[in-house]
């Protein structure tokens, strides 16, 4: 059996950043396994710009952002295998992978970074009634067909869901010659960035209908029409509000889910809220030596944060492989959320293992205006940050510093709350 100290599952933005940071932490026995034909993951099909403002202080397209990390990987001569699908990982960290070139291989790792990314929710998971014709695509599938393969998935398009991929695809389809009729969003707010609403919908006169959903899909072979209706406060369609659109395509941008088949298979504990692994301050899962970062951990809004998070995971994986990060946990203090945040990543922390600072990321469950994000250590407010507006579509973060922790040597509880005032 082959052995590597750190095996990284996935060569997208998270996997690349984790590999580079593990290397820079001194670990040189690293293997990245990527199922696709190239490194870079989903960024390869995200050809629009707007990536990297935090990391590089410039606006890059997805492929450009990916290439910067690919270059770093190649400079460091980090090993990677393409077209290689991981079939299974055991608790003992034996990775079984499969490819045309190598067949089925087994690799023993000392530490593993899970970086498989996420997938789109499908029509099926929404229980949208109607026929099941051709012409219903998830936005990402359409994005791949248009951007990577040069095909047009449809000419008259209705979009359900105003997440960023849906908005971006409204513009892409329009610029490729399709007519986008409407973008319906079941929530009373859009999950997408304001910039995308303006530049992808408003620029082309595409109406955004909030609190609307698709109630029927027509067409036995190919989509011939879609009916949308307004929904009430329980998200149930209101009879009499139906509007019919003649169209040949329905694009769905209705949410992303961490892709945790492998994690689940190996017994990693998953969060019922963010659907990714439950991790501690080192981004380590309940299985010692198994770390997670990026969209497989929780769905991010900006790739910059994916890279940042994955750098931490890579560094910690290297430390674990080197024996400087042990599994013997001193303490696992859960981070309480008190309503505002739906979840936090990490979920728990051990103050002894935190260096200068710890970034805690979270999302809120509804749009909130004029609030403060307050952090309490044993009931003492150690941080209070005003926020003009918070939305479920945007990730929030707070920085816990060494200094704050040092003020509470016998720390028993941590709470992050979103409060008025």
């Amino acid at each position: 059996m082959e052995t590597y100290n750190v095996v990284i599952i996935g060569g997208g933005p998270a996997g690349l950043a984790a590999a580079v940071s593990a290397y820079d932490a001194g670990e040189h026995s690293i293997l990245v396994l990527e199922r696709d034909t190239q490194l870079g993951g989903i960024l390869n099909q995200c050809i629009h710009n707007g990536f990297g403002l935090h990391t590089f202080q410039e606006e890059l397209t997805g492929p450009e952002y990916a290439q910067r990390f690919i270059d770093r990987l190649i400079e460091r001569k980090i090993e990677y295998r393409l077209n290689t699908m991981v079939l299974d990982i055991t608790r003992e960290k034996v990775v079984t992978a499969c490819s045309r070139a190598d067949g089925v291989t087994r690799i023993q790792a000392k530490a593993i970074v899970l970086a498989m990314g996420c997938r789109e929710r499908s029509r099926g998971s929404l229980n949208i009634p109607g026929f099941r014709p051709a012409g219903v695509f998830s936005a990402g599938t359409a994005q791949r067909l248009v951007n990577m393969e040069g095909y047009l998935p449809g000419r008259r398009v209705v979009i359900l869901g105003s997440g960023d991929i849906g908005l971006i695809m409204a513009r892409r389809m329009t610029l490729e010659g399709a007519k986008v009729l409407v973008c319906a969003e079941i929530m009373p707010y859009s999950g997408g960035l304001k910039r995308n609403i303006v530049q992808c919908l408003d620029d082309f006169g595409i109406p955004l209908k909030l609190s609307h959903t698709v109630v029927d899909i027509e067409g036995k072979d190919r989509v011939t029409g879609v009916t949308i209706a307004r929904v009430d406060s329980h998200m149930k369609p209101i009879p009499g509000t139906e509007e019919h659109y003649d169209c040949d395509t329905l694009l769905l941008s209705v949410g992303l889910l961490p892709e945790n088949e492998l994690s689940r298979g190996m017994g990693v504990e998953l969060s019922p809220v963010h659907k990714g692994p439950v991790v501690n301050e080192s981004l380590m899962t309940n299985i010692p030596g198994v770390f997670a970062a990026g969209n497989v951990l929780h769905v991010h809004d900006l790739v910059d944060y994916v890279s940042e998070e994955a750098e931490t995971a890579g560094r910690q994986a290297a430390a674990y492989a080197a024996g400087s990060l042990t599994d013997e946990t001193g303490r696992e203090i859960p981070i309480e959320t008190g309503g505002g945040p739906r979840y936090t990543v990490p979920e728990t922390l051990d103050p002894a293992r935190i260096g200068d600072q710890l970034t805690i990321r979270f999302r809120v469950g509804s749009v909130m205006k004029d609030r403060r994000v307050n952090v309490y250590l044993d009931g003492d407010r150690v941080l209070s940050r005003p926020r003009r507006v918070m939305a479920p579509g945007e990730m929030e973060e707070v920085l816990l510093t060494r200094k704050m922790l040092d003020g509470h040597p016998d720390l028993k509880s941590i709470a992050i709350k979103v409060e008025e005032g």
Partner: protein
């Protein structure tokens, strides 16, 4: 012009079963199918279960074929290499008042010849099924109840029929018949009439139309829609038996069952409609379904639904199978009104109808008939060594295309290249499950389309989801800018 011994209308499970058993005889046999593939109607959207046989009224054809069919499945599944498992079934009773009906069901089953039936108490019910409703006071346990992959069962029958010389013609719609002295002329939308000594009417929800064209003894089939929800494989152990509620007048009600592939299936509703093509789910239907399923099984993980679909049962007014020649239409063999337990009964009906045709036409047995068929190779079931040998020989078995179900390029190529091969995304999906998983083809469909395009030698723009006008892409980017 070739004169056929038998023309079978419809390549669903019944038509394919008749074809397979006919192929044991010498003769020219032809299957005509309106769609682009086998298994495109009722056979593709049903509960995928093999009924033990306690429901159908004793003395009915339904009862006879059900029990016979149910007994044929274990051997047939082995011979034709398709997924089947006897997981056992439970019919739950929720109150003391239900007891007489449950007993009656038991007695009916015993009379039908169902083996191993037992009425079990609440405690035993819960031992067998942790998630059975707390309201269940007792249950009828049928250990011979089973689950099957209806796609592969149909495909297996068709492939085996084909291997034994039966011809299949797809995209061919039958429009009428002309009676001949000893047989029929079958008219098709394509134009050319086909001469045959016998016709088999296995046209599902359309069987009444064909029957009524040749017989004065009219029948009437109502498409009875059943909505279903399929749950993610993460729910695979949610139930282990097929769980029914006591049957009512609209059929056997909503069931919750594991599938042979490890999903959980919930359904069906029973909604009578007019449109023989009305396979659209409705919000009301899906709501009703989930509400009813909740009565039998608690805590259904409904958030794990990966797809919902609807199928049509061919419900004849008399609620009975119509098998064989009408008095006024000799050599026109009906297989009509094939609703539940149709999937279970199909092999028995196929065997019986084939034998009847052979007797009528005096067909000799075919000594070269080979009853065995090799199923689709699934690398996931091989040892690592076997798998590596396979990949060395055929590297395409090393490239995973469908992530959710771990389906390799080799399997997809196999599905396409077989004699009755896949020609569309759904055709591939039904054969080897690429696109059947939780992402529902989101990741793999562009790749499967490329493989189809390459293997079939047709441009990407012509690749369809399910034949006809179901093209997936409509053109090239910027082609009309």
């Amino acid at each position: 012009m070739r004169i056929y011994d038998a023309v079978i209308i419809g390549a669903g499970i019944t038509g394919c079963a008749v074809a397979r058993y006919l192929s044991r005889y010498q003769g020219n046999f032809l299957v005509l199918e309106r769609e682009e593939d086998v298994c495109c109607g009722t056979s593709k959207a049903n509960s995928a279960i093999i009924h033990a046989g306690h429901d159908a009224k004793h003395g009915s054809l339904m009862a006879k074929y059900n029990v016979e069919g149910s007994e044929m499945y274990p051997d047939l599944a082995e011979e034709l290499d398709f997924p089947f498992r006897q997981n056992g079934s439970l019919v739950l009773a929720f109150s003391k008042e239900d007891l007489p009906r449950l007993k009656a069901l038991y007695e009916n089953g015993v009379k039908n010849g169902v083996k191993g039936l037992e009425i079990i108490d609440a405690k035993r019910t819960r031992e067998l099924e942790l998630n059975a409703s707390d309201q269940a006071v007792c249950a009828l346990y049928a250990p011979t109840g089973g689950i099957v992959c209806p796609f592969e069962a149909t495909i297996a029958l068709a492939e085996n029929a084909c291997a034994n010389g039966v011809e299949f013609r797809f995209n061919t719609e039958v429009t009428g018949f002309r009676k001949l002295e000893a047989g029929w002329e079958v008219l098709t939308a394509a134009g050319k009439a086909i001469e045959t000594k016998a016709v088999v009417n296995a046209a599902g929800v359309y069987a009444d139309i064909f029957h009524n064209l040749v017989s004065e003894k009219k029948i009437h089939i109502t498409p009875r829609r059943g909505d279903y929800c399929l749950l993610d494989k993460t729910t695979g152990d949610f139930v282990s038996h097929t769980i029914f509620q006591l049957p009512g007048k609209e059929g056997k009600g909503v069931l919750v069952t594991p599938t042979v592939h490890g999903n959980t299936l919930v359904g069906p509703t029973a909604i009578d409609i007019e449109d023989k093509e009305g396979t659209n789910t409705t919000a009301a239907g899906l709501d009703q379904l989930l509400q009813k399923a909740g009565a039998a099984v608690k805590n259904i993980p409904i958030r794990e639904v990966i797809t919902s679909f609807a199928g049509l049962r061919a419900h004849e007014d008399g609620h009975e199978f119509i098998i064989g020649e009408p008095d006024d239409a000799p050599r026109f063999f009906d297989c009509a009104g094939i609703e539940s337990p149709g999937l279970t009964s199909a092999p028995a009906i196929g065997l019986d109808v084939a034998d009847r045709i052979a007797r009528t036409l005096d067909l000799p047995e075919d000594p070269s008939f080979v009853g065995k068929r090799k199923g689709f190779l699934n690398p996931n079931k091989l040892s690592i060594k076997e798998r590596n040998d396979l990949i060395k020989k055929e590297p395409s078995y090393g490239l995973v295309i469908c992530r959710c179900e771990t389906i390799t390029e080799g399997q997809i190529i196999d599905a396409i290249r077989r004699p009755i091969g896949a020609k569309s995304l759904d055709g591939v999906k039904r054969r080897v499950r690429a696109g059947m998983g939780r992402c529902q083809g989101g990741f793999c469909s562009p790749k499967v389309m490329e493989i189809l395009s390459r293997e079939l030698g047709v441009p990407m723009e012509e690749i369809t989801k399910s034949g006809g006008k179901s093209q997936v892409i409509v053109g090239r980017a910027k082609d009309r800018i």
